[in-house]
C-alpha cells in the first residue's frame, strides 16, 4: 500500500492524537508524498500481493469456487479479509500520524489495488473469458483478491523501510489474536477449497484427531514461548490477563484457528451433508493448518516488532 498506517495496540489512539497535534498546520499543505515514492510503494505492494497470491491464482479449485460460491458467502469472505487487512495495517504499520479514517482509506486503497492485481493475473491466465458470465467473473476476482490483499498488506508492513524516528508499539493480546486470525485465514485458505480437506476430514479416526489437536496446540505453545523469551519480540505481556500468558494465548489462538477453519468450511460449502462427527473431523484437520498459520503470523509479528525497535533506536 502507498502509505503505512499507524501502529495500533493499546493506547494507540491517544498517540495518534498527540502526533497530529505535534504537526504544525502550516506543513499540512506542503508535505505531500513524493510521486516516485508512491509508485515504489504501489509496485512493492503489487509484488507482495503476487508473491502471496500467485499459488492460489494458479489453483483450479479457486477458479471453480469463484464460479460456484453463493455471492453472499463470497461477500462474507471478502469482508473478513478486509477486516483482517485493516487490523494487520493498524497493528504493524510504522507511521503514527494515521487517523482511523485514513487507516480505512489506506485499506480500501490496498484492497482496490489487490482487486486490480488479481483481475489482471486471472485475465493473463485466461480465466476471465466474457462467456463465463458476470457472476463468475466478479466471483473469481473477489475470491482471488483475498490472498493478494494479504500480500499487499504484508508488503506494506514487512517489506517497507521504517521511517526515521519511528518506534514500535507493543501489540496487545487482542491484537495478537487478530494477527493470529489473519495467519490462520491465509494458511487455511490455501487448502480449504481442495479435495484433500474432504479426504482428511472424512478418514481421520478419533485417535488421529486427538493427535492433531495435541500437535496443533504444541506448535502454538512453542511459538508463544519463543516469542515470550527475552530475546524475542516486544509482545506485550505486562497486562496480567489470561491471554498474556503463553498457555492462555495458545488456547485462545487455537480457538481462533478452529473458528477460521469452520468459517472457511461453511463458506466453501464443505459442510453440506456432513454429520457432526465428520464436521468435527473436517474442522480439526483444517484447524491444524490454520493453527500453524496463526502461530507463524504471531512469530512474524514478533520479528517485525524487532525490526521496528532496531529502526527506532
Amino acid at each position: 500500500m502507498a502509505r503505512q498506517p499507524s501502529a495500533g495496540g493499546q493506547g494507540s489512539e491517544s498517540k495518534r492524537g498527540a502526533a497530529r497535534q505535534d504537526r504544525p498546520a502550516s506543513q499540512d499543505g506542503g508535505d505531500a508524498h513524493p510521486i516516485s515514492e508512491t509508485i515504489r510503494d504501489h509496485v512493492r505492494a503489487a509484488v507482495g500481493g503476487l508473491l502471496v497470491g500467485l499459488p492460489l491464482l494458479w489453483t483450479m479449485e479457486m477458479w471453480e469456487h469463484g464460479s460456484t460460491l453463493p455471492p453472499l458467502k463470497m461477500l462474507v469472505l471478502f469482508g473478513l479479509a478486509f477486516v483482517i487487512v485493516v487490523g494487520f495495517n493498524a497493528l504493524s504499520g510504522f507511521r503514527r500520524e494515521r487517523t482511523w479514517l485514513e487507516l480505512l482509506l489506506d485499506a480500501v486503497q490496498g484492497l482496490g489495488l489487490s482487486v486490480a492485481v488479481a483481475a489482471s493475473m486471472l485475465f493473463i491466465l485466461g480465466r476471465l473469458e466474457p462467456e463465463l458470465g458476470l457472476q463468475t467473473l466478479v466471483g473469481r476476482v473477489a475470491l482471488l483478491t483475498i490472498p493478494v490483499a494479504f500480500g499487499t498488506a504484508l508488503a506494506a508492513t514487512v517489506l517497507s523501510e521504517p521511517e526515521e524516528g519511528s518506534e514500535a508499539d507493543p501489540v496487545g493480546p487482542i491484537g495478537r489474536l487478530f494477527v493470529a486470525a489473519g495467519g490462520a485465514l491465509y494458511f487455511a485458505l490455501n487448502v480449504a477449497p481442495t479435495d484433500e480437506v474432504r479426504v482428511l476430514g472424512s478418514e481421520a479416526d478419533t485417535p488421529l484427531l486427538v493427535a492433531a489437536v495435541a500437535g496443533s496446540l504444541a506448535i502454538s505453545l512453542a511459538i508463544a514461548y519463543l516469542v515470550d523469551t527475552p530475546s524475542g519480540s516486544t509482545g506485550d505481556r505486562s497486562g496480567g490477563g489470561p491471554l498474556t500468558h503463553p498457555a492462555g494465548e495458545t488456547v485462545a489462538a487455537y480457538a481462533v484457528a478452529l473458528l477460521v477453519a469452520a468459517i472457511l468450511l461453511v463458506s466453501f460449502g464443505l459442510n453440506d451433508g456432513l454429520g457432526l462427527r465428520a464436521l468435527v473431523g473436517h474442522v480439526v484437520m483444517l484447524g491444524t493448518l490454520a493453527s500453524f498459520g496463526s502461530a507463524a503470523a504471531r512469530l512474524m509479528l514478533g520479528g517485525g516488532s524487532d525490526q521496528q525497535e532496531k529502526a527506532g533506536s
Binding site: 504501489h42 500520524e97 458470465g133
Partner: protein, 124 residues
C-alpha cells in the same frame, strides 16, 4: 503526509473497484434467481462435418439460473441413415449466467432435426 494527486487517483479507482465488487455481490446475493436452469441450443447443424467422415453438431449449453451446475450430461439424438443415433457429452461445471459451446458427433449427416436434451446435472 498528505496524499499526492497520484494517491488520490489510485484511491478513487480503488474505491470504485471495491464498491463495484461488493455492490455486485450484494445485489446478486439478495436477488437470487433460484437454482440452475440449463438450456441447450443447436447452432447451424447442417454446416458441420468432422474430418474423419463423421458429422459434428455444434450446440450451446447455457445456465440461465442463479446457481452453478456440475456434471451436466447433454444428449443429442438424430436419425442417421434410417437408424437412431445418440451422442452424449458431460460438462464438468457451468456457472450461473454462463454458457459453453460443444460439438456432438454422429456417424453421418442427420436425416432430420437433432433433438438435444439435458439428461441431468448435480449442484456443486
Amino acid at each position: 503526509m498528505k496524499r499526492n494527486w497520484l494517491e488520490w487517483l489510485i484511491l478513487l479507482a480503488s474505491t470504485g473497484l471495491v464498491i463495484g465488487v461488493v455492490g455486485y455481490l450484494l445485489v446478486s446475493g439478495l436477488t437470487s434467481r433460484g437454482p440452475a436452469a440449463i438450456r441447450t441450443e443447436v447452432i447451424n447443424a447442417g454446416a458441420a462435418d468432422s474430418p474423419d467422415g463423421g458429422w459434428l453438431v455444434p450446440l450451446i449449453v447455457r445456465n440461465q439460473g442463479g446457481t452453478a451446475a456440475g456434471a451436466i450430461v447433454v444428449e443429442a439424438t438424430a436419425m442417421v441413415d434410417g437408424t437412431e443415433e445418440a451422442s452424449q457429452l458431460t460438462v464438468d461445471l457451468l456457472a450461473a449466467d454462463s454458457e459453453v459451446e460443444l460439438a456432438l458427433g454422429f456417424s453421418g449427416p442427420p436425416d432430420g432435426d437433432v433433438e438435444v436434451r439435458v439428461v441431468g446435472y448435480e449442484t456443486p
